[in-house]
Symmetry: C2
Subunit: 99 residues, 2 copies
DNA sequence: TTACTAGTTCGATGGAGATCGTACTACGAA
DNA sequence: TTCGTAGTACGATCTCCATCGAACTAGTAA
């Protein structure tokens, strides 16, 4: 598992800043549809692989998602329980807002 | 009342981007403590008046707060009901996260 | 009128960060 | 081993935006 903040190290400023970017919001929505996680490359995004890796790092370091390795692939999963515990309703509020 | 988006014009991207900035989050927290609104100048912020006005405009145009004029003062209020309707739990999630 | 106060707008600046290409690592298959 | 694939790290660039000072508007008071 790649380095990430513990639940009590997650700061709401970092979470909101991480979510306030269109590409990263797209990633979050893709992850929300994949409860068992998804490989980075499988998310359709209008950016190159290196930019994608950059955004995933931001999200991971903010505590929004967790990443573990399976062979050459890296599976990312929403830290839904941690976020729901810290900020009840936040994630749901964002995800249900999908038009 | 200053120009602001109607409830159905509020976009979650704009809201999250507006909230993902430390000074603006500080403003939101001050507003949350003042249900009847508060004059911009009364919020303690580590920025000049013009920067303050800039942030308030961002928040207003995103649909997070509403502003009306009382004499020379501009009173800002959280659009709590609109936000709760659109993104139930989001605001509460953020505000209860205050350390 | 004049003066003061509250706040906005404008233009400029500086810094942060989104983006990319390239080089790199790590794993799996042939 | 060699090759291909998945993904990351680094350095450079470029755009966005937070910030400021200065000028401006509008209301209030003397």
């Amino acid at each position: 598992m790649l380095p990430q903040p513990a639940r009590d190290e997650i700061r709401v400023e970092a979470v909101l800043q991480a979510l306030g970017e269109p590409v990263r919001l797209q990633i979050i929505r893709a992850l929300a549809d994949a409860p068992d996680g998804i490989a980075c490359g499988e998310i359709e995004l209008p950016v190159t692989a290196s930019t994608r890796a950059h955004h995933l790092r931001i999200l991971r370091e903010a505590g929004v998602l967790t990443t573990h390795t399976e062979g050459t692939r890296r599976i990312s999963t929403l830290r839904r329980q941690d976020l729901d515990t810290l900020y009840p309703g936040l994630l749901t509020g964002i995800l249900t807002a999908r038009q």
